[in-house]
């Protein structure tokens, strides 16, 4: 193998892009129709109708920059199949349509590839001249990002544009790691206007930029030096963000449609949990509620008739009423989320640890909102897993947390692909990614196992849950009576792992806070 610099990177990138092309004809979720509908809306209707159009149930609920992105795509789409751009064609999926949409995801992933290269540049300083390509941190990070299991199955089988969006996030992080803060802020502002779910990590950006960029110096012990506040920098930041938002929302503000757009972006009618519970704190809360209810009925403390007939399984967005524990409203989740991320933000404010401290804070914001947010989708775990890869190739402890979080988080995505034809793919890819991450990170951070015994036992248990859900349960007689059981088991088991990782990550942040700074 050529041992020079970066020759392996184009091979990895092209290899994974070709690999993605093999799944053009695999299972697609309803997200495929969602995006096709948006292509039709942006192409066939004037801008003033974009956020009012609701003849299909898949209304436009991403910020305006994404709508412009779909508009741009639609101009290419018309060369593949004009019919996909017609609004009336619900669930239209001709071969040309499928080919176009799949290729658009694969092509826009080029942003993710660029971002990966930037991140790899940031981590290559240590052990840079290793002869063995497989042991270089840059190579390991590139594989962990480019061949990430979650991205592959969510983007290229289930169908979404996460690679494109994560490209912006990782590029922004890389720019901050390279001390180019204005560029990082610009990229994040663009990202926010593409998909507003990234508001979850906006507090980390806000606190970090204010503290480390607007205050140009820190005092000797790392504390804040109020005198060094630079108004110029604050104005520069502000103008960048406002400019991007103006380009994005401007047309709609001028047309007086801002309330309508906002109501589309933030629909709070949906329930606490998705139909399949994301493995967060509320999954544990729901499970506890169910257990207490069943126990209560058994011990004759509650009357079964009095319990609300809450269905755990049905529908897409049903409200889930709790029987024993108090019900949870959106404001409660907001308060819980803020409480969970406040210590991290405070720590970064008091004692910023440079860009890597910011990255850690970003991760905690992402995980905190995943744990306590309203109607969280399990795909959101990727917002935590992908940036954690950067820390994993640099620090031993982070590598251990990464292994646990990524394996658990990736397994929690299994229910997304429920068709039998996709079973070998998800098993193969999961095994490939897990094998690689375990062996490569272990070799990189030499000195024994990266995981504690209890964590190893947990991961073995995850394997058992997988065996039960994918193999044993479908062949058992309980399949008809308790169809939700595998989903319940997966969700609850994974929430334990995710919560544990959240706490461990917090511990690393607060622990390094109490130590005097060397960064």
């Amino acid at each position: 193998m050529a041992a020079d610099g970066w020759s392996w990177f184009p091979v990895l990138a092209t290899g994974v892009s070709l690999f993605k092309c093999l799944f053009i004809n695999s299972y697609r979720s309803t997200d495929f129709e969602v995006h096709r509908n948006w292509l039709a809306i942006t192409h066939s209707l004037p801008v003033s109708r974009w956020y009012h159009e609701n003849s299909s149930e898949w209304t436009l609920d991403y910020p305006p920059l994404f709508a412009w992105f779909e508009f741009g795509l639609s101009h290419v789409a018309q060369h593949f199949d004009r019919n996909m751009l017609l609004l009336q064609k619900q669930n239209y999926a001709s071969p040309a349509t499928v080919l176009f949409q799949r290729l658009s995801v694969i092509f826009t992933d080029v942003i993710f590839i660029l971002a990966t290269r930037e991140c790899c540049r940031c981590v290559q300083k240590q052990k840079a001249s290793q002869k063995d390509v497989l042991s270089r941190p840059a190579f390991i990070l590139a594989v962990l990002l480019l061949w990430n299991f979650g991205l592959l199955i969510v983007d290229h089988i289930h169908f979404q544009y996460n690679g494109f969006l994560f490209g912006f996030l990782l590029l922004s992080v890389a720019k901050h790691l390279q001390a180019q803060h204005l560029q990082g802020a610009l990229l994040f502002a663009i990202l926010l206007n593409l998909k507003h779910i990234y508001l979850y990590v906006a507090p980390a950006y806000g606190v970090y930029l204010l503290r480390s960029y607007c205050f140009t110096e820190s005092s000797a012990d790392g504390g804040i030096r109020w005198r060094s506040f630079s108004l110029l920098r604050l104005l520069a930041l502000g103008s960048v963000v406002i400019a991007v938002c103006a380009v994005s929302f401007g047309p709609f503000i001028v047309m007086g449609q801002l309330p309508q757009v906002l109501s589309r972006l933030f629909p709070f009618k949906r329930g606490l949990c998705h139909a399949y519970w994301a493995p967060n704190a509320w999954a544990l809360y729901n499970a506890l509620d169910k257990v207490l209810a069943t126990l209560g009925v058994r011990l004759k403390l509650l009357k079964e008739a009095e319990l609300p007939q809450a269905s755990m399984t049905g529908g897409l967005v049903q409200e889930f009423q709790h029987s024993v524990l108090p019900s949870v409203s959106p404001s409660v989740t907001l308060v819980c989320t803020l409480l969970s991320i406040l210590p991290a933000l405070a720590s970064i404010w008091r004692r910023p640890r440079g860009a890597r401290g910011f990255l850690r804070c970003l991760l905690l914001c992402a995980l905190g909102s995943f744990m306590f947010g309203w109607h969280v989708h399990e795909k959101a775990i990727l917002i935590a897993i992908l940036p954690l890869s950067i820390l994993a190739v640099e620090s031993r402890e982070d590598a251990g947390i990464f292994l646990l979080l990524s394996t658990t988080g990736h397994y929690s995505l299994f229910p997304l692909l429920f068709t039998p034809a996709e079973l070998p793919i998800k098993v193969c890819l999961m095994l490939m990614f897990s094998l690689f991450s375990f062996s490569a990170l272990r070799k990189l951070h030499s000195g024994g196992s990266l995981l504690r015994p209890v964590e190893l036992v947990y991961l073995l248990g995850l394997g058992l849950v997988a065996l039960f859900s994918e193999v044993l349960f479908p062949l058992s007689p309980w399949k008809l009576r308790l169809p939700f059981l595998p989903l319940l088991a997966t969700s609850v088991y994974c929430s334990v792992g995710v919560s544990y990782s959240f706490l461990r990550l917090y511990a690393t942040l607060l622990h390094s806070d109490s130590k005097p700074k060397q960064h």
Partner: protein, 505 residues
């Protein structure tokens, strides 16, 4: 990283690519009344499951031989029976006699694809892994690179998981035979190869090298004494294996004869469809199919085939080393492909397997040939609707093999052993033959890409409706002929110091 984890990742990647290809269409999908190879395999499951063994190869009201009659040796039939047994448990509709003709459904496709994957996982993939780990020279990284390239060879993946066949079983068993010979377990190797022969009769393309190698070894060990014992052991192993496979048919000579008649149909013509061998390419200029009688065609191909394969096998007989054995495998199977009777384009896989085994020693020529072999099957793949997987797997294979094996770096004149060409054709000394070879490679890849694009996008002129298949097969023929000549020269050219130091087993 540890070797076992690298090997596992490569195997998993190979399986993932295979399954990705299997999501696409298969031969004869939705094309009544005859459908294609997929329906043939399903039909064999139906026949073997519902009818008694003595009726499998005979024409009857229950078994219409004109509709995909069994024309492979008994082991294929037993394999079909096993698959049918499982199919019947899952859904009897899949193998109901007569009623399941032309049965197609997503679940059935999933089942059939799974049978191919299981067979591959049990037979072909372990053989490849063991071959790369134990019979390949170099560092462990090199071995894993070779493993990945062999597992990603597009031709086999596209035919087995796309078009639908079970070549992984016969090629895998033959590879077990090669593995056994490489490790010195001659009797076991003979058993493996006999099983391969009993699975698909086309493995006869490999039979001559196996025979000559083993005979050569016995002679070398002394025909009186150890060599003779070895010969007896091998002969016994082969005879017993054949007997066990043909047991149900040996009770009645009519049975055995009928099976032989089915697996060697000599009533057909010199070639069918467009195939990249001499006769089809010759037919473009001189219409030999109409000029000569059927018997004359048979004799012509027999003579030329023998002329093509005998030299290399006789050389192997005199020099039974493992290196010469591998070269002879290539030369024999290519010779059969180029000159034999009733050759199908899929038979190139029989030549591709031995070339895969040479990826480590001769990366440049091997990659070139393997790419050409996939390209030669383009018309077949287009008919099956497998264009996208073809493009993806071929590009991926080219990229990976050139990068991992540094194929282009190993194309100097020395490494390609082009000195013989220099002597034969009196090239001027200044001409860098290695550079010339590289340019020929680039031009041929460009031609392959160009013809692929043209076959898909352009319409042939109305008076030449078969223009593109003919162009594809003629180009492939020239590439195959070049490879055939080169590997023969390699086998006959004197001792290149690197090769003669190989363990002479």
């Amino acid at each position: 990283m540890q070797t076992w984890s690298l090997v596992s990742i490569c195997v998993l990647l190979g399986v993932a690519v295979r399954w990705g290809v299997s999501l696409n269409s298969y031969s004869g999908a939705g094309k009544p009344p005859m459908f294609g190879d997929y329906e043939a395999q399903r039909h064999w499951q139906e026949v073997t499951y519902n009818l008694p063994i003595r009726e499998w190869y005979f024409n009857s009201t229950d078994n219409d031989l004109a509709y995909w009659g069994l024309d492979y040796p008994p082991l294929t039939a037993y394999h079909s029976w096993l698959c049918a047994y499982i199919a019947n448990i899952i859904d009897p509709e899949w193998v109901k006699l007569h009623k399941s003709r032309g049965y197609e459904s997503p679940e059935h496709k999933l089942f059939m694809r799974t049978t191919v994957l299981v067979a591959d996982l049990l037979i072909f993939i372990p053989a490849v892994v063991l071959y790369c780990l134990y019979l390949t020279d170099g560092s462990s990284k090199k071995k894993v690179s070779v493993l990945l390239c062999i597992l990603l060879y597009p031709g086999l993946i596209l035919i087995d998981y796309g078009h639908f066949q079970y070549n992984g079983v016969s090629l895998g068993l033959a590879l077990w035979g090669v593995l056994g010979l490489g490790l010195g377990w001659d009797a076991l190797a003979s058993i493996a190869f006999s099983l391969a022969l009993n699975y698909k009769q086309m493995e006869l393309y490999h039979a001559l090298p196996f025979f000559c190698y083993l005979l050569g070894k016995c002679i070398k060990a002394g025909l009186i004494g150890r060599g003779f014992l070895l010969l007896v052991r091998i002969a016994a192993a082969v005879v017993v294996t054949f007997a066990l496979c043909w047991l149900p048919f040996l009770s009645d000579p009519v049975q055995a004869l009928q099976v032989v008649r089915r697996i060697f149909p000599v009533a057909r013509g010199l070639f069918e469809d467009k195939v990249a061998n001499t006769w089809c390419s010759l037919n473009v200029l001189i219409k030999i199919r109409s000029l000569l009688s059927a018997d004359a065609q048979l004799h012509l191909s027999l003579v030329f085939t023998l002329l093509a394969v005998l030299p290399s096998s006789i050389k192997l007989l005199t020099r039974p080393t493992f290196w010469h054995f591998k070269l002879a495998l290539v030369n024999s199977s290519l010779g059969f492909f180029l000159f034999s009777y009733q050759v199908h384009e899929k038979s190139i896989l029989l030549a591709a397997l031995p070339v895969c085994l040479l990826l480590n020693d001769l990366p440049f020529m091997s990659v070139w040939f393997l790419l050409a072999s996939t390209f030669s099957m383009l018309p077949l793949l287009l008919k099956d609707g497998l264009l996208a997987p073809y493009v993806v797997t071929s590009t991926g294979f080219l990229l990976i093999s050139i990068y991992l094996l540094s194929a282009l770096d190993h194309s100097t004149e020395d490494e390609l052993q082009l000195s013989t060409y220099r002597k034969l054709f009196f090239f001027p000394l200044k001409l860098d033959l290695g550079c010339l070879a590289r340019w020929k490679f680039y031009i041929s890849v460009a031609a392959m890409v160009g013809l692929s694009i043209a076959s898909v996008t352009l319409d042939p002129p109305s008076h030449l409706p078969d223009l593109f298949p003919v162009l594809v097969s003629t180009t492939s023929y020239l590439l195959f002929l070049g490879t055939f000549i080169h590997f023969n020269i390699l086998q006959f050219s004197g001792p290149n110091s690197k090769k003669s130091q190989k363990k002479s087993n």
